[in-house]
């Protein structure tokens, strides 16, 4: 759910340097020429033939189609497999910038895991009055079935995808923590493969930190969280997918393949000898770690939604008995709930004793009367989001909305204020894309992927850069016409 204020149109000249930027451009906002991390790339680009680059761009699309890296769009039966457009201009992050992000993300993720343990046990943070009880008690993302559960290794969020935006040289904000089942990591890996194939010469000139070890790190990290009671010599990991019609099926298959884990669906699994096991050609095989890409509500029809056909009946009981690791743990959604988001700095301070390194976007909680009246009188300048929404749906981007849309949204907001939060429109940074006429600035965000094991937090240097392909557009979600870029983190 990204947004940017629609300030003045950025006045770029074709492939050139002139820009009346109201936004921070990560390539060209330098005092002189390209900013440091982009210098080598920019020189290279200046000497490239635009025609050749455009041909490469077409090649990339063919490549993605061939390997089948597609996503399905809900409610569009006919065109059910779509490509996410890929832009061949990389997003480049300097070593120094990355180091700060890394520290900030690690701090956040550690605090979130401590918070989750606490909220499903003694609830010290509520007793201490640091966050209001109503934030938890009235919250659908709170999962009572997790009360008193001790996840193996103490890890709740094995995989996180922290969404960051940038507004200036040193200004990074966290938009969302995505600690349920974040997706997109396959794009990070395939985008890099594509760039390596297309522009090997750039990788010899620049020290780009590799991302390709992510699947092995994921495997190691999940294995380290396996339950101690396993009868298997080495932890057996499986990826649970809703099936081939799920929008992220490609990614599920890709990750299972790259990790060397089985890709399983509901009907492959049964409870056998007190453990979850998968049906193989030679009988049932016990699973130690289930990396599930199925939402909490569908995970166990015996415990949650009884109509779910995507889950594993009884898995929550096996989990409570300590016989399987579920990654991510059920109930983690309480930590990335949008109403809770505004308390993240307090949460970090409560559990780590430190100030938050990464900034939060200022947030008005519409449940509070003062905030609500402010939001109502400033709708045209604000972004208003549903507390439980995701994917860019059900939100109002004030500066981009018509009077009619604002009026309609105002009615919804008045009817159920607690359902909404509001944030100022941030001036998101831009990174150029290759347009028909050369480089053109487009707004971006960044989702680095974070792996948490009992003794380590590992952040892959890179991530998924999402880019709004339409000129001036504010929403980078793939379901709403966004594209992706390869993200290069430079070595020292």
């Amino acid at each position: 759910m990204r947004q940017v204020a629609c300030g003045a149109t950025v006045g770029w000249k074709t492939g050139g340097m002139t820009h009346a930027a109201t936004f921070f451009d990560e390539m060209l906002s330098g005092a002189e020429g390209a900013r440091d991390p982009y210098k080598v790339y920019y020189d290279w680009f200046e000497n490239e033939d635009l025609k050749r680059l455009r041909r490469k761009s077409v090649d990339a699309e063919t490549f993605f189609r061939k390997i089948g890296i597609t996503f399905n769009v809900y409610g569009q039966e006919e065109a059910d497999e779509r490509l996410i457009p890929f832009d061949i201009v990389p997003r480049i992050i300097a070593a120094r910038e990355w180091a700060k992000l890394e520290r900030g993300i690690e701090q956040r993720v550690r605090a979130i895991n401590a918070f989750l343990y606490d909220i499903y046990h003694g609830q010290e943070i509520l007793r201490a009055g640091r966050i209001p009880r109503t934030l938890i008690s009235g919250n659908e993302a709170f999962c009572p079935e997790m009360i008193g559960v001790n996840p193996p290794g103490g890890v709740y969020t094995h995989i996180c995808g922290v969404d960051l935006v940038r507004t200036g040289e040193d200004d990074f904000y966290v938009l969302e923590d995505n600690v349920r089942t974040p997706s997109g990591v396959s794009y990070m890996l395939e985008n890099r493969e594509t760039m390596l194939q297309m522009f090997p010469e750039l990788f010899t000139q620049l020290k780009v930190r590799p991302v390709s070890s992510y699947p092995q790190t994921l495997r190691r990290s999940l294995s380290a969280s396996a339950p101690g009671s396993s009868p298997n010599a080495a932890p057996v990991i499986a990826v649970l997918t809703p099936g081939i019609h799920n929008s992220a099926y490609f990614e599920h298959a890709f990750l299972a393949d790259q990790m060397g884990a089985e890709l399983v669906e509901s009907h492959d699994l049964q409870i056998v000898d007190g453990r979850v096991a998968m049906r193989t050609t030679q009988g049932y095989q016990t699973i130690d770690v289930l990396y599930r890409r199925v939402d909490d509500d569908y995970l166990d029809p015996l415990t949650f939604n009884p109509d779910s056909l995507l889950g594993v009946p009884g898995i929550m009981d096996v989990y409570r008995a300590g016989n399987i690791t579920i990654a991510n743990a059920p109930g983690t959604g309480i930590a990335d709930d949008k109403a809770l988001y505004s308390y993240l700095p307090d949460i970090i301070e409560f559990y780590t004793g430190e100030q938050a390194i990464l900034k939060n976007v200022p947030t008005w909680r519409c449940s509070e009367p003062d905030a609500l009246s402010y939001v109502l009188s400033n709708l045209k300048d604000l972004v208003v989001k549903e507390v439980h929404g995701s994917g860019g749906y059900g939100m109002l981007v004030g500066p981009a909305a018509s009077k009619k849309e604002i009026a309609a949204f105002e009615a919804k907001l008045r009817a159920k204020p607690a359902n909404y939060i509001a944030q100022p429109t941030l001036s998101l940074s831009t990174v150029p894309i290759l347009s028909k006429s050369g480089l053109a600035p487009r707004h971006v965000d960044l989702r680095p992927f974070v792996l948490v094991s009992p003794n380590k937090v590992e952040i892959t240097p890179g991530g998924l850069t999402r880019v709004a392909l339409k000129k001036g557009s504010l929403v980078v979600n793939s379901s709403q016409g966004g594209g992706t870029k390869d993200t290069w983190v430079l070595g020292d």
């Binding site: 609830q123 008690s137 009360i147 015996l302 009946p313 009884g314 009981d317 409570r320 008995a321």
Partner: protein, 272 residues
């Protein structure tokens, strides 16, 4: 009011399936805990036609067992037997245990969501009991429920909500408890559901387990109210499982793959 009692319980549940079972699980909350005025002297669960998979304490600290029905079988029998010593505490259960916070019991669930009927009943009771203390007020509520909802079997089932039962005007102990819980929550009290056993003099053979409600009263802690019998639990009551409503505390909850019907039969003896 009974005094301290030693109760012997034999509880047998039988499921008959008209086609052999392919895959089925049963979750059992059938083991009473020692504490809160009762001492479990001995207790065992025997399963015929199924195997225990895991045993654990759930989020409300209920002893829970997950059982897999033996594939290909057409009958599973679950037999609980044991002896429990119960002290009469006049319904006062006392302190709250476990990590589940008290506020969780203030929140409505799908089965205990208050509609117009329950809200109306609650506000009536509030007016009528303005001068009474908590215990008296809740006994008043309990009586008000029983006078509106007569005890009648076969009219409601395990999916009937509190609001539905109050509108219908008849129900069983589960419905009485749900209405009590829903109305108590509207009045601002944390409330919970208890499933368990009741010794009934002269009724050696029972065909269902019992259920009642517990309400949190500041200063006393949890206090039991058996709406169906118009009293607070005494030495004849054995607490087995608790939760926010029936679905949290159900003695047996199953899931089954495949076709065909199942037939449930319960045989229960609670003896002194």
């Amino acid at each position: 009011m009974g005094d301290d009692m030693k109760l012997t319980i034999t509880h047998k549940t039988t499921y008959d399936y008209d086609t052999p079972v392919h895959y089925a699980l049963q979750k059992l909350r059938l083991i009473p805990r020692t504490g809160h005025g009762q001492t479990v002297l001995n207790w065992q669960t025997e399963i015929n036609g199924g195997e225990k998979q895991v045993t654990f304490d759930d989020q409300f600290v209920n002893h829970t067992e997950l059982v897999k029905v033996t594939p290909g079988t057409t009958r599973i029998e679950i037999i609980s037997t044991g002896e429990v010593e119960v002290h009469n505490q006049n319904g006062v259960i006392g302190q709250h245990n476990g990590y589940a916070p008290l506020w969780l019991f203030e929140e409505a669930t799908a089965m205990t969501a208050a509609g117009n009927q329950i809200r109306h009943l609650a506000s009536l009771v509030r007016q009528e009991t303005a001068d009474l203390d908590d215990v008296a007020r809740l006994h008043h509520l309990s009586k008000a429920i029983l006078s509106r909802v007569t005890y009648e079997t076969g009219q409601t089932d395990s999916t009937t909500t509190a609001e539905m039962a109050l509108s219908a005007g008849h129900g069983v102990c589960q419905d009485h408890s749900h209405i009590m819980i829903a109305a108590a929550r509207v009045l601002g009290y944390p409330a919970r559901y208890i499933s368990g056993y009741l010794f009934m003099d002269g009724y050696d053979q029972q065909d269902a387990t019992h259920a009642w409600a517990e309400i949190w009263i500041t200063g006393l802690g949890w206090v039991g109210f058996d709406v169906s019998n118009g009293i607070s639990p005494d030495g004849r009551y054995v607490r087995v499982a608790t939760g926010r409503d029936y679905s949290d505390a159900a003695p047996i909850l199953g899931i089954r793959q495949g076709v065909g019907a199942e037939n449930l039969h319960v045989s229960l003896q609670v003896q002194q």
